[in-house]
Every structure is written in C-alpha cells, then in structure tokens.
Symmetry: none
Amino acid sequence: MAFTAKIKDSKVVKGIFEAVSSIITETFLDIDPDKGISMVAMDLSHICLVSLLIAKEDLDEFKADKKLKIAINLEDFVKIVKRANPQDEIVFKDDSAAKRFIIEMKPETAKKARRFTISMIDIDEERIGPESLEQLEFYNQTTFKLKFLDEAIKDAEIFSDALEIVADKNLSFSTNGNIGDMTYELEKEELISSDFTQKSEGIFGLEFLKNILKVSAVSTNVEMSMASDLPIKMVFDILNSSRIVYYLAPRTEDEDNDEDDSLYED
Amino acid sequence: MAFTAKIKDSKVVKGIFEAVSSIITETFLDIDPDKGISMVAMDLSHICLVSLLIAKEDLDEFKADKKLKIAINLEDFVKIVKRANPQDEIVFKDDSAAKRFIIEMKPETAKKARRFTISMIDIDEERIGPESLEQLEFYNQTTFKLKFLDEAIKDAEIFSDALEIVADKNLSFSTNGNIGDMTYELEKEELISSDFTQKSEGIFGLEFLKNILKVSAVSTNVEMSMASDLPIKMVFDILNSSRIVYYLAPRTEDEDNDEDDSLYED
DNA sequence: GTAAGAAGCC
DNA sequence: GGCTTCTTAC
C-alpha cells in the first residue's frame, strides 16, 4: 500500500469526479508525494482537455511513498463514489500488487467502512501533456461568477448547440439559430476582474460547456482566458489549493472536418 | 357477495401489491373468515416464493361467509390499485357468480366510489404450499433495518447481478465482478437482533432482491433466516398483525442449469 | 417551489 | 447508456 488519501467531505469528491467524468471516461491518476493527486486527460474527440489537481494540502490524510500512476475507468469509479452518503468520509488506497484501486467510505464515527475496489486498467500513456497548452498566450483574461455562464448556456440552448463568446470592451455570450438568437452581455462591473487587451471571439459547443459547468457543484467562480483561434481556458478553484482546468477547442467554420476541432494536430 | 374487505389506507394496499406483483404475476387470493386475506405463490422460474397475509385484525372491515379462493392476474390488479388516490379508502368484494373481483375506491367522506372489476382467471391449483418450507431449519437468524440491505444491493449492482450474503461472526454482503468488488459488513450493534449458530453463505440474484425490497414502502425491518444451501427466508411485518414472507433460492455454481435454482425438485 | 432521485423510454 | 418524465424530499 504505497498510497492512502482521505477526504472527509465526500460531497466534494462526488462533485469533482462527476464533473470530470462527464467528459473523460478513462484516465491516469497521478499520485505525487509532493503535490497530491492529479490527472490530465482529453475527451475521445480531442476537443476538450481536463486537468485536475487535488492538492495534498486539501487532503485530510495523505501518504505516498513514491510517485504512482494509476489508470482507471472514471465512469466506474464515479459509480462507486456516488454511493457515498453525504456524511461519509472517503479513503482512497492503492493495491498495486493486485492492480486494484480501493475506495472506502464510512461516517466519521463508524468503525467499519464499506469497501469497494476497482480494477486498474491498461491504457496508453497519454501522448501529450498540457505543457504545450500552458505555453499558449491569451490576450484576454477575466474572472466572474459561474452562474452567469450557466445562465448564458441555458439561454443559448433554446436556439442552437453552440455559444459564441466574445471578449472586447466587455464579455458577451451570444448565439443564433433558426428560431431566433440571443445575446447576453456582462458589463465590466459584473466581472470580478478583467484584463482585455485585444478583441477575441470563438464559438464553443454547448454540450461541452454544459458538462464543464457541472463543476459548479464544487466551485463558484471561473477564470477564463481567451484569444481568437485558441482553445478557451477555464480555471475553477476547488477546496483551498486545488483546481480543475479545462481547455476547450473552438468550433471552426469548416465543421465537416472534425479534425479541425482538435486541440492538437496529430 | 360472500366477501367484503375495506382498508382505509390505500397507500398500504398499493405498497403491498406493487411489491408482490413485481415477482408474482398470477395468484390465488385466499379469503378465510378466521384469518383474513392471504396468498402464496411462486415466480414463474420457481426461484422465489411469496407468502402474504393481511390479517383480518388489520382490515377496517371484513365480512366473509366462508372460505373463498379467487384467482386473479396480479399485474392487472395492481394497475387498478395504483389508480387510488392517497386519501382514498379501498374496498374489495367478490362477485363470484360473475367470476369477477370488485375494487372500489373513494375518499372516506365521499358518497360515491369509483368502481373497478377484474375478471377472475383460471389457474391450476398451486401444486405445493409453503408447508415444506416452513419445516426448514435455519442456523442463523437476524433482524435489522431494511435500509442496510437496500444500500448493500445498490452497492453491489455496480459490479454484478448477484449478492453474496454471509452470516458468521457478523452479517456481510459482498459481490465481485469485472470492474471490481465490494464488501459491506454489519456489526452486531447494527443488527436489531442476531442469533448466528453456524456460518452460512449464499449468493442471490439482485433482480429478485430489488423486487423484494419494494416492500420497504410498507415495512422498515427485515427478519432474515439463513442456512447454507437453503433458500433465504425474509419476513417483513406490515400493518400490525400482517406480514409478507419471501423464500429466495440461492444461485448455484452450475448456473447453466436453471432448474437447480428451483425451490422445489419437481 | 425547487432539486434530487427513481422509473420508464429511446 | 443517455434522456426524459415522474415522484419525493427539502
């Protein structure tokens, strides 16, 4: 047992992994004695990259002898995590010898935990990390309440399956479709912070945005970075020192060619 | 009209028969002037026997001249019972001359009842009663809150379609499947009562257990009796003097031969 | 009235 | 398996 981590608030664990698993089905969990638990993975269509860090400072217990990479099916993992009751605390352990990942849950005062295991899976090493994305230069950055983006998404899906996001003097969300269109503008005063240096615009799929917004169970603000023709970067702070970062590729004019949506040219 | 019975709380009637009909499709209702309304029937695959008694003490009105056996399709019967509103009281009557069973429902204060009838059907006399099952000698018996079994079932169905139940020092539920496994143990303190004299274990189909658990609409505790290689007996008290008893046959190693699961060798 | 969970449909 | 609807808890 090279690794043990405990989180007392199972609701946070549920919120984090339900959000992530709505986009990612399989992933490595990276256990790092110095950092905590992290993962980086892309959705199958390579349109969205998700990077999660649960910092060791946010773990109520954390023991790790060495770095570990544990590959799991997130969907199955979430089915288990969902079984936690609100008052349960959750413990993760590895049983690498048996290629199993262990999840235990129990109320803090209970003696005996319900114990689940999930088989580790074999997946290819991720071919690309987020490093190249971290080099991206965004012209515009803003932080604001997640509920605004949630509203814009719900407004937009009346008309279309995509949302246009424009950062210029202010931040605007818009869409148009057969039955009509909508515009939702946030004034500077409604933004917690904003630094817009060059107009940028992009169109993004609502399905991804809706899945990303599931993070609102565990976060209240979004820090959004944009530049035309680049993926949009959205950072969500969770717990005290942890975060989930999404890079979502814009839709291109040439929607027939799915490859153009990909975050990477293979 | 040789028989009339009234139950003021239609929700109880719904709960009882929705639970039973999830396993039994056709049955005799036995009307006994001394006892009340009862039924004994097995599911079509002969894996589960259900015995229901609604004691006459629990009926708000009960008139029966003589013993009656009324064969009905429970599925159709439940469709009718489901039509009752929560504030309705329900009256059952026979119209044996017309081979019809009558269900009336109305709010207590209403003058006029909604009236349904359902045709009696022809089914073979049940070839075997529960008498032989009542002779079974169980080594272990325990009573505990239904919610624990409910949790164990929901935990287990992530992995498999079966649940292993072991009574030894304590009571444990477990399962395993391709994606992983789970264990759920109940300490003696979590059991309302327990009398374990000899370790027993058995594997039971989750589909049956889930249908049996529908009884939780009308009961809160389960009294469970076990012995290895015997059916598991589960007794649920309902109302004041009534009860539903299930005998569920364990799955056998040789799962290809369905007959081995049968409660009876024909 | 809203939101989460369960059941039914595709 | 996802989506939708219905039910139930807060």
